[in-house]
Amino acid sequence: MDSFLAAVVSVLFYGVAYGMVLYVISVGLSITMGMMGIANLAHGVFAMCGGYILVTALAKYQIPFPIALALSFLIVAFFSVFLDRLLYKHIYDAPELEQVLFSIALIFISIAIARLIYGTLQQPVMLPEYLKDQFTFLGRDFPAYRVFIIVFSAILIATLWFGVENTKWGAMVRATVDNRPMAQSIGINTKLLFSITFAVGSGLAGMGGALGAEIIAIQPTYPFEQLVFFLIVVAVGGLGSLKGPFFAALLIGVLDTACKYWIPEVGAFFIYIVTIGILLWRPLGLMGKRA
């Protein structure tokens, strides 16, 4: 019984860490998709970029971990503004099929570039010593890095939620998600707002990819392989919703970890079944505003 309880605690612990990473990566996707209705399947590219930036900064340039993490946010955010102005602006109002293909094209290109620079192998993460320790709590050991992920993500998420609910920027974002034409007509520059939000969302994805580099392996096929999980988090949580994807991400994180621990032979089977079940029950997702 005690060993079972220990297993439950560690599954919850690892699952929550994974879920936090999933949420930090996916939240930008939910908000930008809610604002502009762009089916951006290439969101995982930003997460992968963040992961590669962290790995390179740590291994090649010996940059301290906190700065490397901040860099993964900043570089990806700037990069996304560049992509937005250069490419994404052409497909804001394009039909869904074109948006899907456009983002698949970006995925293909990013895979090829990642492979050219880094090769096909998974990149090892050179964590600093202080994150390799074990925390002992209530007689159990917890790896410091996972604890760091959970605490750091929690602070990040709290800041984000506060920002969206209590600042003027957040109010404008919420207004645009609810009704873009109306927000535009009362004088909100929705395109500029979208660019800023897109940058923040992509930056968060980059940081999420960097944070989770040890959980979700950084390799060229990352954007394709993880896509279904990011989409599940957004769709189950509810498109355009801020908090819905959080609960969805925790659910998926814990469920996936539990399945891998107790029934590895079925793989991700249950995740898909649960996803389909939830969407049959609530087609708009847990806290969805619209399809």
Binding site: M33, G37, A39, L41, L87, H90, I91, A94, E96, L97, E98, V100, L101, F102, I104, A105, L106, I107, F108, I109, S110, I111, A112, I113, R115, L116, F224, L227, V228, L231, I232, V234, A235, L239, E265, V266, G267, A268, F269, Y272, I273, T275, I276, L279, L280, P283, L284, G285, A291
Partner: protein, 324 residues
């Protein structure tokens, strides 16, 4: 003025529509060394045709169409390798039935939702099928693939040979039948209604069209065709692997269709031909640049050349006519 496409064009069979079939037969006699690639291309054309029906005509974007392709292939492979059914026609029929049932049941789920959620569900269903094929190793062979697929002679007369001569003609014949059916379907009132649903779902609903029921029928028929295409590839290769099921082949077939031109029957013919021939020549020599090339090409098609290869042809002919 743009050229009329889809249901707007004259439904009568034009002489030019015979060109693909004449070419396909010519390939059989002139390029006997390329028949196994040829058979491959023919099955992918059939697969692209099924996707064109649901995405190009009915407007349902799916990232998981290879679920049907793969399930069709695995149904055929498993029935042959584990159950011992070897008649090719019977195997096609079984794959069609299984994929039809899968099409109805998954169609009921995905057509309840819209846009991103729908995309995600199509993807999740393909991923689910992949996961089953990957993990049920005793039946499917898992990552090693399913071997021991034995296919008997067609109608008890024509044996599958090493040069794939029989397979090529078999694929061509099946493709011809489904091409004819799909062609009839798109020009029928049913097909025109599908295009209407694609153009404006709410309006079609408002004038009393049972939208979901129409889409479900189209989705199921499309699933059946994809399943038959999958069964054909299992029969041609006498092997079924994980590369036929899941997200990657789903994305690839979408790319092929877009490359040829979506929402027009012959786009499904041109796309796989160009893609697979290019892959055969380029991907082996420059594997690291292949993805880059595909990505850039796709980007160009989406941003500048909507309508794919055939769309460019249209523009050229319209331009020529107007300049005369």
């Amino acid at each position: 003025m743009s050229k009329l496409v889809g249901f707007q064009s004259n439904p009568r069979l034009k002489i030019s529509e015979l060109i693909p079939w004449v070419l396909a037969l010519a390939v059989f006699f002139v390029l006997p060394d390329y028949l196994s690639l040829g058979a491959q291309i023919l099955t992918y054309i059939l697969f692209a045709l099924s996707l064109d029906l649901i995405t190009g005509y009915a407007g349902v974007v799916t990232l998981g169409h290879a679920a049907f392709f793969g399930v069709g292939a695995y149904t055929c492979g498993i029935l042959s390798a584990k159950v011992g059914i070897t008649d090719p026609l019977l195997l096609l029929l079984m794959s069609a039935i299984v994929c039809g049932l899968l099409g109805i049941s998954t169609g009921l789920i995905i057509l309840r939702t819209q846009k991103l959620t729908q995309l995600m569900l199509t993807l999740a269903i393909a991923a689910l099928c992949f996961e089953v094929a990957n993990k049920a190793t005793t039946i499917t062979g898992g990552a090693d693939g399913l071997t021991g697929v034995v296919i008997g002679p067609i109608f008890g007369l024509f044996k599958f040979d090493f040069l794939n001569k029989t397979a090529y003609l078999w694929c061509l014949g099946i493709l011809f039948i489904f091409w004819y059916l799909v062609r009839r379907l798109v020009y029928s009132p049913f097909g025109i209604t599908l295009t209407g649903i694609k153009e404006n779902k709410q309006r079609m609903q408002a004038i009393g069209v049972p939208v979901t029921s129409y889409l479900l029928k189209a989705y199921t028929f499309s699933a059946i065709i994809a399943g038959v295409a999958g069964a054909l590839i299992a029969q041609t290769n006498q092997f079924v692997g994980l590369n036929l099921i899941g997200f990657e082949p789903s994305g690839e077939i979408l790319v092929m269709l877009i490359l040829g031109g979506v929402g027009r029957i012959y786009g499904a013919f041109v796309g796989p031909l160009v893609f697979l021939v290019a892959q055969d020549f380029l991907a082996k020599q420059f594997p690291e640049y292949w993805n880059l090339g595909i990505g850039l090409m796709l980007l160009i098609v989406v941003l500048f050349a909507k309508g794919g290869v055939l769309g460019i042809f249209d523009k050229v002919t319209v331009f020529r006519r107007s300049s005369k």
